[in-house]
């Protein structure tokens, strides 16, 4: 009865009314939260553009005017400090990056995929947990420590095993980079393999497939997007790595003729020389052009990955 209600004294605030106020406040905050999340999402793009803009601005003067691009890409002579005639040829550096990264991938991809298959499919629950923890620990080792291991531990081993005059070379850098990429490849591809529904395994099992056949004929095709992503993340890590390769590859400008030749990579060159240059001078600008080249490589790798993944999807959708 409304009349009776009106005559009654106002009731004291009930305990949940504060909670209610809080909920109203939350409702008001909703658009704000939405905007914060939106900014978080777009900031990634913003940062990429900001970095690109900065690198391009610093390198543009040399790229568009001062630099002989033909010499830049085709000459193996990197002599930025020459008083007579500085030469900026990155062919040797490019060869260094490609050889070390290539070797690293040759080692890391089979090792990483094998480890992922073992962890996801064959290992018992106990060893699975142990392996995952240890592999994640491997990913947490700082790159300078890896470089140190390459320099102090792997170098002497290589000298002892091969009789090479120096232990820090393509082989050393490749192995170190491989070990650094393996954890990424393992954890991403293990996730991809685990995401394959169990019903696939059961169906293959019921057809009389052996465990290896299940892996090769069913799991790999079903998880290939994830596996590809894993490999490319590994490649990205290997190309971009600086500190470890700076320490483990020998840092000598030359096109390698064997695994035991020291090389120098694009990233290590920037890291080692940028501190010695004066902002705005030729050498400084060229280092930023190298940065643009690295950008381009990363872009091409990502684009390829995207196209390949889309290609695989397209096949599925006809």
């Amino acid at each position: 009865m409304p009349e009776a209600d009106a005559n009654r004294e106002p009731s004291p605030p009930r305990p949940w009314s504060m909670l209610r106020t809080f909920h109203v406040a939350v409702d008001w905050c909703e658009p704000l939260v939405e905007w914060i999340i939106r900014i978080c999402g777009w900031s990634a793009i913003l940062f990429v553009f900001a970095i690109f803009f900065f690198v391009f601005r610093e390198g543009s003067e040399m790229l568009l005017g001062g630099l002989d691009l033909k010499e830049f890409f085709t000459s193996p002579n990197w002599r930025p400090d020459s008083v007579v005639r500085p030469q900026y040829g990155i062919l040797a550096l490019l060869a260094g990056t490609i050889s070390v990264t290539g070797l690293a991938m040759l080692i890391a991809v089979p090792l990483g995929l094998g480890a992922a298959v073992y962890v996801a499919e064959f290992a018992g629950p106990r060893s699975k947990e142990t392996l995952k923890v240890v592999i994640e620990l491997l990913a947490a080792i700082p790159s300078v420590v890896w470089g140190f291991i390459g320099y102090m531990v792997l170098g002497p081993i290589i000298i002892w095993a091969t009789g090479a005059p120096v232990g820090i070379n393509v082989l050393n850098g490749g192995i170190i980079l491989a070990l650094m990429s393996v954890p990424i490849i393992v954890s991403v591809s293990e996730d991809a393999l685990r995401a394959v529904p169990d019903s696939y395994r059961e169906a293959a099992l019921a057809l009389g497939a052996s465990r290896w056949e299940i892996v090769s004929r069913v799991l790999f095709p079903a998880a290939k997007n994830g596996l590809l992503a894993a490999v490319l993340l590994g490649v990205g890590r290997a190309i971009g790595e600086t500190m470890a390769v700076l320490m483990a590859t020998g840092h000598a400008v030359q096109i390698p003729h064997s695994l035991l030749d020291p090389v120098r990579t694009l990233t290590a060159t920037i890291a080692a020389e940028l501190g010695e240059t004066v902002s705005g001078e030729e050498h400084y600008g060229v280092l930023f052009v190298i940065g643009i080249v690295l950008f381009a490589i990363a872009f091409v790798v990502n684009l390829t990955a995207d196209l390949v993944v889309k290609g695989i999807r397209g096949e599925k959708h006809d």
């Binding site: 696939y200 059961e202 169906a203 057809l207 009389g208």
Partner: protein, 250 residues
């Protein structure tokens, strides 16, 4: 009447949950054996014991003996060979990530059949038996996972038939298939029993009535009753069975 599959005091549990309790059952050769019963009564578990895909479930514990052709399946040296002798169709269709053709050609090729013409003929035959051929003959090279649910289910049937199994286990094979196509497949099954023993798990009581020579009724992990289908559907010994087949269960 010759026995093909024999369960002797089989009990299965997943951890603390009992899935099958002291099942003893004989399945005769070249007949259709219907298994009916409400959800969670152990029907699928029973099938998984036959080809030992139950090994795949870590927590499962199997006691008792399952014999196929008089051989204890747990003592077999080559479990893969056993699985190749048993065709299995799961309730949820599983198109392996292979093309339609490869889905069906996979098992025969594994068994050593490489002749292109023979393989083509076999694939066509299996797809026809699963009443799928007319729908997929122009797109044998698309991925099996691209087919619709009902088509995938028939694809799994074709795949199960592709290795000419001695035993065909069908677990709710018609769940996603329309009634007309189901009827066509049922006709095929009636022909197929000349060649193989068919174990048919079904929720459709009438399907068991139509197809099965013998029927078993499971409830609550236990085998309530088994006998010739006609008897099971007209004058069963157990009143639970009577209630279930006449729709008054509950």
């Amino acid at each position: 009447m010759e026995q093909h599959i024999r369960f002797q005091d089989v009990s299965v549990s997943y951890g603390t949950q009992v899935a099958l309790q002291d099942i003893s059952l004989e399945i005769p050769r070249n007949q259709i054996f219907g298994i009916i019963g409400p959800a969670n009564s152990g029907k699928t578990t029973l099938l998984k014991c036959i080809n030992r895909t139950i090994d795949f479930i870590g927590s499962a514990k199997v006691q008792g003996q399952v014999q196929v052709d008089g051989q204890d399946v747990n003592r077999l040296r080559n479990v893969y060979d056993l699985r190749r002798r048993v065709g299995m169709v799961f309730p949820l269709p599983v198109g392996l990530p292979l093309t339609v053709y490869e889905n069906v050609a996979y098992a025969p090729r594994r068994a050593g059949l490489f002749d292109r013409h023979e393989l083509d003929a076999l694939v066509e035959k299996c797809l026809r038996q699963a009443v799928l051929w007319d729908e997929v003959k122009d797109r044998l090279q698309t991925l099996g996972t691209k087919l619709s649910g009902g088509q995938q289910q028939r694809l799994t049937l074709a795949r199960a038939l592709s290795h000419r199994p001695e035993i065909l286990c069908l677990d709710e094979f018609s769940i996603a298939i329309d009634p007309v196509t189901t009827m066509k497949i049922e006709d095929v099954l009636l022909e197929l029993k000349q060649e193989m023993t068919i174990v048919l798990v079904t929720n459709l009581v009438q399907q068991a009535h139509r197809l099965a020579d013998h029927t078993a009724f499971f409830n609550n992990s236990q085998l309530i009753e088994t006998g010739p289908t006609e008897k099971m559907f007209t004058e069963p010994d157990d009143k639970l069975t009577y209630a279930y087949v006449t729709g008054g269960f509950g």
